[in-house]
């Protein structure tokens, strides 16, 4: 039925992963289409075009290394000035609850290492931010390795997989990855006040989570096929027989 919501049709078979996703994650028709434009969308479109053709067929030579990539934008940012010409923003990335069928392969922070703001050139980097207790914030000594992005020279990618896996991934409930986006004025422009509070980091830094779909292996682990069980029983009885 053209144009009609397909949720009612899909609800009849809610166990398949595709059906579950369609029911849980597809925004309702009545909702407005989420407006995501700018750098994150351009980045993901570029990633898509490198990984699939215009008809959606995955390219054989794709280098993505995962079956799913989620781009997460920061929730909010707090701008504040530290000593000298250094500016720091704390970025909060909300992480969805873990799904058993998806295995985290990589976590990459993508950001602009050169930011041009109100006539000033800033050089920026990202650091993981570890909250030890509510009153004492400590900058983590861990740092991922940064390298230029394969997609565009303007982007730098920092691998923070270890940080995410060790500190956040196995936690239950609401999880937020906190990172600090640190920018420094380049030589010659120190001491001038930048309108930093007017800017948004939403387009200058985002998180990429790479997953592999392990649905089939999870299903196998949960429910061994009947034939396999029978084979195991038969096999063990054979073994006992031989031992005897």
């Amino acid at each position: 039925k053209v144009g009609q919501p397909s949720a009612a049709l899909l609800a009849e078979a809610p166990t398949l992963p595709l059906i579950q996703e369609l029911l849980e994650e597809a925004p309702g028709k009545q909702q407005r289409k989420p407006q995501v434009q700018g750098h994150p969308m351009r980045y993901m479109l570029e990633l898509y075009q490198r990984s699939a053709d215009a008809h959606g067929h995955p390219r054989e030579n794709r280098t993505i290394g995962a079956t799913m990539v989620r781009l997460v934008r920061p929730l909010a940012n707090i701008a504040r000035t530290l000593r000298g010409p250094q500016y720091i923003q704390t970025l909060d990335f909300p992480l969805r609850p873990n799904r058993i069928a998806y295995q985290l392969v990589r976590a990459i922070m993508v950001y602009h290492h050169q930011v041009y703001l109100a006539g000033f050139h800033l050089s920026c980097h990202v650091e993981p931010w570890v909250q030890k207790n509510t009153s004492n914030h400590t900058l983590s000594s861990e740092r991922g390795s940064s390298k230029p992005s394969l997609l565009s020279k303007a982007w730098t990618e920092m691998d923070i997989t270890q940080h995410v896996q060790q500190r956040l991934w196995d936690h239950k409930g609401h999880r937020v990855l906190q990172l600090r986006f640190i920018c420094q004025q380049q030589k010659g422009s120190e001491g001038l006040q930048l309108p930093w509070h007017d800017t948004s980091s939403l387009d200058t830094a985002f998180l990429l989570l790479y997953f592999n779909d392990t649905y089939k292996s999870v299903q196998k682990a949960k429910l061994p096929p009947r034939g396999q069980e029978e084979f195991k029983k038969r096999d063990s009885s054979l073994f006992l027989h031989r031992a005897r």
Binding site: P5, S6, P27, M44, L45, Y48, A52, G56
Partner: protein, 124 residues
């Protein structure tokens, strides 16, 4: 009687003469995500080609249809034992995946490869 049926594998089948176009085969089919009601969610690709399998399964299954032994037996059961057991159905045999780019309700952008989304060949 089973021998009569199976002997037809060797000679040309006469039973479906004139209905070649009705035999189980892959049909090209394209649909837009707008037609499926998902265009507010999916960014790329614009069109999706799931294809479909349609047609009658021959009484004597051809080699190229990749039918399992079970289908051959089901045909024999239908013909010789009990016509309540239907002839095998024409269904997809091989599938291809599709990559989709979509925007989630919270504004995250997702690239995902979905398996088994495009029918590539059919079987009985």
């Amino acid at each position: 009687r089973a021998a009569i049926i199976t002997s037809k594998i060797l000679g040309p089948t006469q039973e479906h003469v004139g209905s070649e176009s009705n035999q189980c085969s892959l049909h090209h089919f394209q649909v837009s995500f707008h037609q499926l009601g998902w265009d507010h969610w999916i960014i790329a690709p614009n069109l999706y080609t799931p294809n479909y399998c349609k047609g009658a399964c021959p009484r004597v299954l051809r080699y190229g249809l990749n039918s399992p032994n079970h289908a051959i037996i089901q045909n024999l059961v239908n013909e010789l034992v009990d016509q309540n057991v239907p002839q095998p159905s024409c269904v997809p045999y091989k599938y291809a995946p599709i990559s989709i780019l979509l925007v989630e309700a919270n504004g995250s952008i997702l690239y995902k490869e979905y398996k088994d989304m495009i029918a590539q060949s059919c079987t009985c």
